[in-house]
């Protein structure tokens, strides 16, 4: 099938960048989206043009490295799917696709579709952990975790840190990402001692990174490849408000 791509090309952080149109006359519907980009890049190299830079690694939907906007949707039109697991059979012959990098002040463009997401790491470094030095843990069965709590914690822990939530959010907020980590750890007994400081520290870091503010629109939830629920944002809000009131 024939696919027309409009791709954001930008040499580096200082370049202005622009959309460039490419025609792919022979796309196999069995290809993954990234394999289509591989084919485009092979064509470009053959024509002595620089290939399109895009982040990707595991190509099985778990590393969180890949992702771009496809016609205004983060990771493209299929719910619960990363870009690497999206296949071309979900598109039609003659489709015109606009590919843009994640856009947020906190995610500056590095090149083409590649952005810098280290702001996420700094949010985790601010408090997204349980402070336990190697070797000091008690027996694994010393702490019991109700099955339902473990399951809900796992739902939140499934976050792959891809940044689609930020990219899709009209406010470029990192609420779903931050909330997912706060919920993951806050739902477990091991996470209780640091729960309040964690919320204060991570929320403050997200603001410092210049992410926007959540307005409960739910677009993050709609595009999250791991289908993490807005509920985690409420948990973050609750933990933050409680921590603020209790004076930590």
């Amino acid at each position: 099938m024939r696919i027309t791509l409009h791709i954001w090309r930008q040499r580096n952080a200082n370049d202005a960048g622009k959309m460039v149109r490419y025609e792919l006359p022979n796309v196999n519907h069995e290809m993954s989206f990234l394999e289509m980009l591989d084919v485009l890049n092979e064509d470009l190299i053959a024509k002595n043009e620089e290939p399109v830079a895009f982040d990707h690694d595991c190509r099985e939907g778990i590393c969180g490295m890949c992702g771009c906007m496809v016609n205004g949707m983060a990771h493209g039109p299929l719910p619960g799917t990363t870009l690497c697991q999206l296949h071309m059979r979900h598109f039609k012959d003659g489709d015109e696709l606009y590919l843009e990098p994640w856009r947020a002040k906190a995610f500056p463009v590095v090149k083409d579709l590649v952005v810098d997401r280290t702001a996420f790491d700094r949010i985790i470094a601010a408090g997204g952990y349980i402070s336990v030095a190697t070797g000091s843990a008690p027996d694994g069965n010393a702490v019991m975790v109700p099955k339902e709590d473990a399951e809900r914690s796992m739902d939140a822990a499934a976050c792959i840190g891809c940044g689609a939530c930020v990219a899709m959010c009209p406010n470029a907020a990192a609420a779903l990402f931050t909330g997912a980590k706060i919920a993951h750890l806050g739902l477990l007994p091991q996470g209780q001692p640091e729960r309040q400081q964690r919320a204060i520290a991570m929320v403050a870091q997200a603001k410092q990174e210049l992410f926007g503010s959540c307005t409960n629109m739910g677009l993050c939830e709609a595009v999250c490849p791991k289908e993490i629920k807005l509920e985690v944002i409420a948990r973050m809000n609750g933990d933050f408000i409680r921590a603020s009131l209790s004076g930590r």
């Binding site: 595991c58 280290t118 190697t134 975790v145 822990a157």
Partner: protein
Amino acid sequence: MELNSKSPSGPIETRWERHRFNLKLVNPSNKRKYTIIVVGSGLAGGSAAASLAELGYNVHCFCFQDSPRRAHSIAAQGGINAAKNYHNDGDSIYRLFYDTVKGGDFRARESNVYRLAGISLNIIDQCVAQGVPFAREYSGYLDNRSFGGAQVSRTFYARGQTGQQLLLGAYQALERQIGLGAVKMFPRTEMLDLIVVDGRARGIVTRDLITGKIESHFADAVVLGTGGYGNAYYLSTNAKGCNATAIWRAHKRGALFANPCFTQIHPTCIPVSGEYQSKLTLMSESLRNDGRVWVPAKKGDKRAPSQIPEGERDYFLERKYPSFGNLVPRDVASRNAKAACDEGRGVGETGLAVYLDFRDAIQRLGASVIKERYGNLFDMYNRITGEDPYSQPMRIYPAMHYTMGGLWVDYNLMSNVPGLYVIGEANFTDHGANRLGASALMQGLADGYFVLPNTIGDYLASNKFEKVDASHAAAREAEANVNQITQRLLGAKGKRSVDSYHRELGKIMWEHCGMARNAEGLKQALALIPPLREQYWSDVRVLGTGEDLNQSLEKAGRVADFFELAELICRDALDRNESCGGHFREEYQTPEGEAARDDEHYAYAAAWEFQGVGQPPLLHKEPLTFEYVHPSQRSYK
């Protein structure tokens, strides 16, 4: 060269304890005076960097991805083994040790494996404390399942994302140390050379992948936790970025490479669909618990699976291995699938696939039970292939998955280059010739959390370290080497892309050094690879500059190393005239077609010393002795 494994002797149960007591310690207040470089941030590298920083060392950690959380450990699905015996089903440290030595087909070091089995207990405790949301029973206690044919339930898991959750635990511990300033993290930075000063590893040369800046970093010890080399085969279950560059360039600086031919093929992967295929997706081997593997009995039968009557199907694993059936180990299942396809009985458009059929299980248990057990995997299969495994059988084919070989290390995880430590999949030790399911995560974390932090202090405390900086001749030479490689790749200005060469190399490797090997094929591969490598250096086309993010340039350097490594893999495979574990030589099989080991001549780890590109490497042998688990023939009939 004398290979001293430094394995302790005496009763195996107390070897690690006695060894630890004999190691020198670094005074707590002196630890911050030592700098340690950790390359790689997966389960091994990430856990090591975090634990070393907790001890007080000054740690510099490097990864080529944009964040340490992306390392490919994240993709492990099934689980992690630990001999907790929570199920009272007869498990013990000794049994895990026994299973691992036997599963590795008697090509691993007993001391290391016993230590690994013992540490498995601490790993679970540590990960639970970090907040890894392991699966729980309704009582709130940890749940286990049996995995990969083990006869006890010792596998801990977090849905089908155990690797992800364990990695995030290590990543969070690492980020905590970064936040505290104890670790300096260098994401999107690739190690391109090792700096060896006076015979000791003292630093690395890196390229900043965004600015292209080539820089030297110095330390008192260098730790490589950079994973395996399965991508030498181009198509594998590894992430696209997985590469052997760090270990290969360390090898070129003198580190021995052990057992490179020990590669593992995973039987249940989604088959290749076309030339554009970029990677292979693994599906958990738990699928074989309920799925039945078959191909049409007749050659070239192109009917849809539902049109093939029961009598014209060949359930070849059940036929050949009546007692284990579809649950035979990975290598046996893989080889038999290949044999069926080689006979022309493969299915699907390419003929390179066999069916994994759930029809009978769905009839017996109902679709809802199957959905509960494998829903995620079925959804993933459906997403990738567009086919519904509830109504038609899955098509599967084996794929390159894991590499047991790697840089040679002693009991302290130090390579033969003093100060160079190698951990996780990057080293060669614990799995012998074949890795058991749910053991990779265990080894990576054992090395990083519990072994290395104990052993590295001995080296630091026993040596004096003069200051080294970028003006040192060794650093200047290493930087010049890296610059020269970059310039050569950019300057070739040839006709073909990096990927096209990588794909071609992968085909040679898969064809001649894949699931089954023979001397003739290996010799052919050894005749094909060097000219292709030569052509690559003169004909590769890498566009753009070295001063920007340049993904083609990154790949080009890695593929150049795969060419040299591929040659070593074939050489090692040709040299090992026996079949064991993942290394199956067609000439060496029992009358029943099973792997025939030759313990008399090949009970050693083959550690190769680099002698120059295109030069035959030098073989050193570390003999393996088995005092506890006595070599026997595996049988799954």
